[in-house]
């Protein structure tokens, strides 16, 4: 049996890395006596696969994992058992059986919607944020530098992220804090992190954001077909 679970990553636990999270889940399966299927071989480990890694320091209410089991268990029981063990901040909000042929999470859920709070360094009514963002979206190219690891060395490549931005809007402005909403691509075909988006705003518009101040939360994930 294969089960898919939707979970949250909130509070300080947003600082757990992808690997930390996998280790946490594996320990939690053991502790909650969930009949996990193990891989064969020298060092058996649970057949668990997570979606695309969430950037460190960003909260989410919509992360997913798939897990293979050796015997069936009701999705409700699965959820309840795990939630008893999982720390506050990481909670299974939904779980359901899927069949073997269901495409993987990382290949299907590749659009992410984020809510971002960030302080602006611009003073007063100096600029029109709505206009600036619209102008940014009017650009054909929004180039950012991406650092990649190639073997042991790090290389920098220039990537145009404009095709991967499906939505970017100013929701409201409260004092010097701006609330943004965005839908961007995540995954191997294209990936935009919230911080990269903010850097692009600083580079390409008159808006000057205090990048140290940003807080982001992933609020929804969508499939490839979704058009934001």
């Amino acid at each position: 049996m294969k089960i898919r679970a939707k979970y949250t990553k909130l509070g300080y636990l947003k600082y757990l890395s992808h690997l930390d999270l996998i280790r946490l889940f594996n320990r939690s399966f053991t502790r909650s006596n969930i009949p996990v299927k193990y891989s064969e071989g020298f060092n058996p480990h649970p057949k668990l696969s997570l979606g695309n890694p969430l950037p460190l320091g960003i909260e989410s209410v919509c992360e997913y994992f798939d897990l293979e089991l050796i015997e069936p268990i009701s999705p409700q029981e699965f959820k309840n058992k795990l939630n008893e063990i999982l720390p506050t901040g990481i909670e299974i909000v939904e779980s359901y059986g899927i069949d073997e042929m269901t495409p993987s999470i990382s290949s299907t859920m590749c659009k992410s919607e984020y809510e971002i709070l960030v302080d602006t360094l611009n003073s007063g009514d100096e600029i029109d944020y709505y206009l600036e963002i619209n102008e940014l979206l009017g650009l054909k190219n929004i180039d950012i530098e991406k650092k990649k690891k190639k073997g042991k060395s790090k290389i920098t490549t220039i990537v145009n992220i404009r095709p991967f931005i499906f939505k970017l809007s100013v929701e409201n402005i409260c004092g010097n804090t701006i609330r943004l909403n965005t839908i961007v691509m995540t995954g191997e075909q294209g990936n935009v992190k919230p911080i990269e988006l903010l850097e692009a705003i600083n580079k390409n518009t008159k808006i000057r954001l205090d990048l140290d101040s940003f807080e982001a939360k992933k609020i929804e994930t969508y499939s490839q077909e979704f058009e934001g």
Partner: protein
């Protein structure tokens, strides 16, 4: 409580932010404001190292199980975090309540290795606490310290208010109770310290003593400054381990640590009497836990942690009298949960084929052996009671069982060592390799790799070698060169420790009150995390040595007279000084001393639990 917004901002900028967030499984969520005594447990190294330390888990659970007390953790922030904390005015805080360490009643450091001492000063500074004991009044926490290095507390005497010598399970609670009493009637620091020094066994308060020196810099005498304060401090030891507090929970870190596993302490002490080993002397006598209580504890730990490995911990785990039974029962119990058992460094003499076979049932790990010296002559000098046939037996068992990755540990610079002894390290290593490849073809299982690691010997207090001079850095380097040239096989990896680090360790570990100056200078000049080769800066240490006007030769390399008053002589660690002198003389004569399970060597421990056992 520190500003959470600043912390959040800072955490986005540092490497491994989960080092600083707490909230792990089995960490407590008591309300700190309801506690009558707030204890901050400080490990003077980075989180991953500190969380792998068993003592932390014991004391943490012990204290938090008490209604009136709360214990929270703090670690040395890594360089990037310290930088951010200083820039953003974030004081050193505890992981649980994110409370400033300064607001705690007691700040307790654990002393596991001397090269963490600069971190202690740095952590006090980060906490905005004056570094010198004399500068801290009642508005600051009482700063205490314990752990193996507290057996020579003198290098830290200027900084720490109170040391606890020996095992902490009982003494810590006595101390906290005493603190509570004093807090209730109006806390006066000196009164509390005096009460502790005179009424809690194992407590040492440096301020109540003075030391007079001779012209040749050696100690002339110690003076007790307050009446009724004990002249000799007797170490604490727990007499009955089965009824001792044993944690049923361990905090499970989110990030990978040095040891991600259950640590099951199977006994304390050691009976071998290896003459270089401080732990072997200060933790005497041996006291075992019963198989039943260990199984019971393991069950609770597996349940509360979800770990997949149980490490059987002690100074020499193969000595456990019912090891076969213990391993069998553990493996049977947890096999379906895929929980394996691991043994740290094995002694060559006691390993048995059954044990290896059992461990292998779930997971194969590499094997580590510690012959310590390359020749039989030198192994006799250090009283490491193993010989080459032990090694041969152990290796043929290991290879037969399919282990192909072997690690051998040695020391160089041991007393009386010659080039011939050193070359024995090479010979033993090649012998192990040849043994593997001389096996019949079908029995050569796996990809053979031998790692031979050689460390620089540091003479330690309370060992028969406490009078010996350490080799100079130059001597060590010559020995390394000699060995390096002889290792030319790609199947054998030769590792060695940096003699410069061991030199600093030697100065501090046998230091006295005057060594405080060196620690202060080194810290002022920016030394911290000295146990990390990436952080250790020898030139800065040399400058600190120069400016603090201490003679490094006096502490590290000088051979002491047997009748010299040593800085730690006022501590009764168990075995008598007479015993250490006898062992020292036997060592130089190349005579061995038997395991004290075989016959009592009358080492001087009062009411020894071992006396009469197995006789």
């Amino acid at each position: 409580m520190i500003n959470r917004k600043s912390l959040d901002k800072v955490l986005k900028k540092v490497e491994k932010p989960a080092r600083y967030i707490g909230l792990e499984e089995n960490s407590h969520n008591k309300d700190i404001n309801n506690a009558k005594v707030k204890f901050a447990f400080a490990f003077p190294d980075v989180y991953e190292v500190g969380m792998s330390h068993l003592g932390l888990h014991i004391l943490y659970n012990l204290i938090n199980d008490q209604k009136d007390f709360v214990c929270e953790r703090t670690f040395a922030p890594w360089f990037d975090m310290e930088d951010q904390m200083r820039k953003n005015n974030i004081e050193l805080f505890t992981l649980e309540s994110k409370e400033e360490v300064k607001k705690f009643d007691i700040l307790g450091f654990t002393l596991q290795y001397e090269l963490s001492y600069t971190n202690i000063l740095n952590m006090m500074d980060l906490a905005n606490i004056p570094i010198f004991s004399k500068d801290r009044d009642e508005t600051y926490p009482i700063v205490i310290a314990g752990g193996p290095c507290a057996f020579n507390p003198e290098p830290l005497a200027d900084f720490i208010d109170l040391f606890l010598i020996g095992e902490g399970e009982e003494a810590t609670l006595e101390l906290l109770e005493l603190y509570k009493k004093h807090k209730e009637k109006g806390f006066v620091k000196k009164e509390f310290l005096y009460d502790a020094a005179t009424n809690v066994e194992g407590v040492y308060v440096p301020a109540f003593y003075d030391v007079i020196y001779n012209e040749d810099m050696t100690i002339s005498k110690r003076i007790v400054l307050e009446s009724k304060v004990p002249e000799i401090i007797k170490k604490r030891r727990v007499r009955d381990l089965n009824n001792m507090y044993s944690p049923e929970k361990m905090i499970v870190p989110y990030i990978e640590t040095v040891h991600d596993r259950i640590v099951l302490e199977i006994f304390r002490g050691c009976t071998h009497g290896c003459r270089f080993c401080e732990a072997g002397f200060i933790y005497r006598p041996i006291r075992e836990k019963s198989v039943d209580s260990l199984i019971n504890q393991a069950e609770k730990l597996v349940e509360s942690t979800g770990y997949d490995t149980i490490s059987l911990s002690s100074l020499s785990s193969c000595d456990y009298t019912q090891l076969d039974l213990l391993i069998h029962r553990l493996l049977d119990k947890f096999e379906d949960k895929k929980v394996g058992v691991s043994l740290p460094s094995l002694r060559l003499d006691s390993i048995s084929i059954d044990i290896l076979k059992e461990i292998e049932r779930v997971r194969k790990t590499s094997l580590t052996f510690a012959p310590e010296a390359g020749s039989q002559r030198l192994r006799d000098v250090i009283n490491k009671g193993v010989d080459e046939s032990d090694l041969e037996n152990a290796m043929s068992y290991a290879f037969k069982e399919g282990y192909s990755k072997i690690k051998l540990y040695f020391m160089m610079g041991l007393p009386t060592e010659t080039d011939a002894d050193l070359l024995g390290i090479r010979d033993l290593s090649y012998k192990v390799k040849d043994m593997f490849f001389n096996r019949p073809k079908e029995e050569k299982i796996g990809n053979f790799q031998l790692t031979t690691s050689v460390s620089c010997f540091v003479p330690k207090p309370f060992t028969p070698f406490q009078w010996c001079g350490q080799n100079s850095i130059e001597e060590f380097n010559n020995k390394i060169d000699l060995l390096k040239k002889t290792f030319k096989d790609p199947k054998i990896k030769f590792n060695y420790h940096d003699p410069k680090v061991s030199y600093i360790e030697a100065i501090i570990s046998r230091g006295d009150r005057r060594t405080s100056k060196l620690l202060l200078k080194a810290w002022e000049y920016g030394c911290k995390f000295d146990g990390w080769s990436s952080a250790f800066n020898f030139d800065t240490w040399l400058k600190a040595i120069d400016d603090s006007e201490i003679d490094p030769y006096f502490y590290a390399n000088r051979e002491r007279d047997l009748d010299e008053i040593l800085p730690w002589d006022f501590i009764n660690a168990g075995p008598s000084k007479k015993t250490l002198i006898r062992e020292y003389k036997k060592a130089t004569d190349g005579k061995t001393t038997s395991d004290c399970r075989e016959s009592c060597n009358a080492c001087g421990i009062d009411n020894c639990e071992m006396r009469g056992v197995l006789n």
